[in-house]
Amino acid sequence: MSWFSALYRSAVGKKAVMAVTGIILFGFIVLHLIGNLKLYEPGLYKAPGETGPGVRYINAYGLFLRHVGEPALPAYGALWIFRIVLLVAVILHIWAAWQLTLMSRAARPRAYASRPKIHTTYASRTLRWGGVIILLFVIYHLLDFTAGTVNPGFVEGDVYRNVVASFSRWYVSLFYILAQMALGLHLYHGLWSLFQSLGWNHPRFNHWRSGFAHAFAWIITIGNVSFPLAVLTGLVHK
């Protein structure tokens, strides 16, 4: 790991680590959204050869995640590999964010008497607090849908029921929506910024970078905000 610590020592290296872990987390967010869209799938899913009435698509998807890779991998095997990669990415991302924030504080020990003008975007100024909101949200989210400890009447494996039960409480939905907006802002700047951090620039595709970032920030935000709204409006119900 000496190559990693040599890279990580510099600020540019830390930002490269943030960018790569950001890409991993972004990849997860995209897959997570695609998976959740199954909430809108009408009817029931029947595995080939299955005789019963079938199950909700989102529940079948949850089952798939737990058994994908079998029999080459044990049950939950692929899921745990995925979880460990994500956990490492989250830890590195936050660790670098924390150290860089300290570095930035130290670089200007005396503040300006008249505040510097702001030319940058709201999104780029809210990365740090936005990140903290996302982290708190992720913890709540895991307790809600994975561990089930804060979910009213949690039923393991019945994803559909758990989602409806959680989002039927307006204050949970509100918190969820606010957190998604923080994530949207984070991605609005982050998905552009990572190209800079990794030195991926070229006159021919530079103008696509912010288009890419803005498009995905909107897609992710609208997609994720739609779930609590669908439950609150009764579009998705028991």
């Binding site: 930035s104 670089a107 990794l198 030195g199």
Partner: protein, 255 residues
Amino acid sequence: MNLTLHVWRQKGPADEGRMVQYEVKDVSEHASFLEMLDVLNQQLIGRGEEPVAFEHDCREGICGSCGFMINGDAHGPMPGTTVCQLHMRHFKDGDVLHIEPWRSRAFPVLKDLVVDRGAFDRIIQAGGFISVATGEAPEANLIPVPKPVADRAMDAAQCIGCGACVAQCPNGAASLFTSAKVSHLNLLPQGQPERFDRALSMVEAMDREGFGYCSNHAECEAVCPKEISIDFIARMNRDYLKAKAQRGMKTPLQT
């Protein structure tokens, strides 16, 4: 026009420093900002007070000596301008202006508005030499350089090292300066032999001097008197990361 100035006054590096209010009357709109300060200083000298110290040399916007914050903007409110080329016609009667030195741990205040930018010199030094044949001046067209490459290198070489990028950056980073200095040589054929050592050494020197890191806010680009693009920061990052990958993550030969 009449102006109210709040100017940072600090006797020396050890002094606490404070903002002091001054009234300047009958300022000509044809004067530059520095000339307006010259007028203030004449008044101060007349009253037997210490004039405000600020750096300047060419007053043509090319040497990079001048620079301070005006109401939170490095080099004042006009884009693409140094304070020596900023004219008073951009201000109006009754304006209240807060004038402060660059604030950065790496740029200690020496006196009033004058800061020590030796950190920039040490970053340049860390970049080391370029391999050139010494002796007689070579034939100018010996090494062909494509026009677009020459233009890009010149865009980077426009950097006058004034320090406005550091001063404006919310993280106090020196990425725009360093990237311009890395890039103008790294783009040219003459800069190729030491290209990756240069990127490694200069990036690491930047950290050593106590500058912040780059969040890609682009505040620097907005205030740079030479309008240097943050594209160069991406280019520097690329050369640095490539260098790390190629050199097996060893530290550079020169530091």
